[in-house]
Symmetry: C2
Subunit: 333 residues, 2 copies
């Protein structure tokens, strides 16, 4: 181990968390140590804009070019370095469809189900996503995720008692609630609250009212309180109510966005917490979003523990070792 | 009365329902008979795009120009013809702020609270909106509407027992639920379900999945059923679930929009129907939207009666007569 001299650590893996709206890439050394991080602007949505969705070959060329654009320097310095990528890059609209494992799914089966893309510069492996199958007979929708399976593998590396039952919430545009037990994903649920918040504050009527947004934690808490109130009358009504508060001079236009954030988040927690009954929840994601979820959950008596976004790098390393994508000697050197 | 010879009816009033996203104008003759209708594309949002919101004089000039653009021909043929307008045109961002009446509000007080704009071509009167005041002490948002007060006055002209208690729902981008009794608006609630539906299908992730939309009543009913299900886990989750149905091949991409319409509408009805407890509801608005609300309400055991959008014209005439904007002889000629 050379924890204080990262310069001596050999690069072993390019790890990528490549999602719909963002991409993060890490150069990982022995034991998965982070040697370098690159976070280019944009994710799949930006890329997809210029590509003919019906032409898989054109799509693959575009993804390869984007990959080399971000990681080409690492590959030039370390020819043949393997890469492992998780996220929407493995979806049908991504680089190459990497499939799904159906829950309940043991997290260690992920490493046995990688999809390999052969490039001259070095292989790229894709992590499969997870799915809850729809129930056709009762017309109950299933669910899907990509990337969070890898973050959760990283989370289990970073928390105590990884074999116990845990509720892990991964806040984001499409927040995932997951029940893990014995390193197995028992079930998960998506709430697209982050997307709804973005749509309402970015495009709708309220975007005209929410001028000059400024952080206002008190307004966020007021939004949570309104959303948790027994008087709550649905998201479509609560969101409009925020505008009345502004018209009546009870809420500054600059604080409207934080109020709405509270309303939307409370609606999610109010619906999903009863399903995922927990006194303790592990949050993994962006620091500001985790802070908001922690505040909301605290109001419902839930204790939270926060794990940072680098959990994805830890998860990718763990999968790469288990799959033999990196040499065993690197794993425990 | 000259019901079969409209050509003999003298034009008495220009009536306008001028909202955020659309404008309808009518040339009304004796007894409020509709002689002509004009429905130009666009509403206030399109107009406001080019105007400096901080300059009321510039805004007023722009609205006057838009008004003369649509109704100038009528005014040239009938100089001095008075006009009465309802809707967002009377908001702070509109032509001229026409104020609000606070509920409970007798509908006949509307006619005593008009705001007059003097033009060389003839006066334009604006109808005040209605508001539910926010409760500052308990931080409970109030509500606002503009235009629907006039539609409801028209509705009472068109239905039986106008003095009885009625629940009137006016579907739209911002649907209004109103409790009327003794021609008094006791309370109302806005649900911006229509806007949420538009944002989700027009801008969000689901807009990429909902390709080539086609009417599918069965998909709409499935969405309603999902939204009304006791398993329902909040709008943010139900909307994402629709995507899983498509991924699992259980819903055609072209039917996704109708499914989402059902999900959003059920969420609204599930929240607001208990508050407006009713076995019978009067719907007033766009025919397709009223059909959707009727289907949703029928699933909850509610009988509906539909009144068309021309209720606004009837309401404007009624207000104009009560306010003396049109001569008494025209009202009952």
């Amino acid at each position: 181990m050379t924890p204080d001299r990262p310069g001596l650590s050999m690069p072993r893996l390019i790890a990528l968390d490549w999602g719909t709206t963002s991409m993060r890439s890490w150069l990982l050394g022995d034991e998965g140590r982070i040697l370098e991080t690159r976070e280019p602007a944009g994710g799949l949505l930006d890329m997809a804009a210029g590509i003919d969705a019906a032409d898989p070959a054109a799509r693959a060329r575009a993804y390869e070019a984007a990959y080399l654009d971000v990681c080409g320097g690492w590959l030039r310095d370390h020819p043949g370095l393997p890469a492992l990528a998780c996220g929407m890059v493995g979806s049908a609209q991504g680089w190459c469809e990497a499939g799904y494992l159906t829950v309940p799914a043991r997290l260690d089966s992920t490493a046995r189900s990688l999809t390999e893309i052969t490039l001259a510069a070095g292989a790229v492996h894709l992590v499969p996503g997870l799915r809850v199958a729809s129930d056709a007979r009762h017309d109950i929708p299933g669910d899907v995720l990509r990337g969070e399976e890898t973050q959760v593998i990283g989370v289990l590396e970073l928390i105590a008692r990884p074999d116990a039952e845990h509720i892990v919430v991964l806040p984001g545009t499409h927040t995932k609630w997951m029940r893990i037990e014995d390193r197995t994903v028992r079930s998960f649920t998506t709430a697209m609250s982050g997307e709804l918040y973005g749509l309402v504050t970015g495009h709708g009527l309220l975007s005209h009212t929410a001028t000059d947004p400024r952080r206002d934690d008190a307004a966020f808490t007021r939004g949570l309180t309104a959303g948790f109130s027994p008087r709550e009358r649905g998201l479509a009504t609560a969101l409009f109510g925020a505008r009345a508060l502004v018209l009546d001079g009870l809420l500054a236009p600059s604080s409207l966005a934080d109020y709405l954030s509270g309303v939307v988040l409370a609606d999610e927690v109010r619906h999903l917490l009863p399903q995922y009954r927990a006194e303790r929840i592990v949050l993994c994601g962006n620091a500001d979003l985790c802070r908001r979820y922690a505040a909301a959950l605290r109001m419902r008596g839930v204790v939270t523990e926060v794990v940072g976004e680098d959990a994805a790098a830890a998860g990718l390393w763990s999968i790469a070792v288990a799959a033999g994508v990196v040499a065993a000697e690197a794993a425990s050197r």
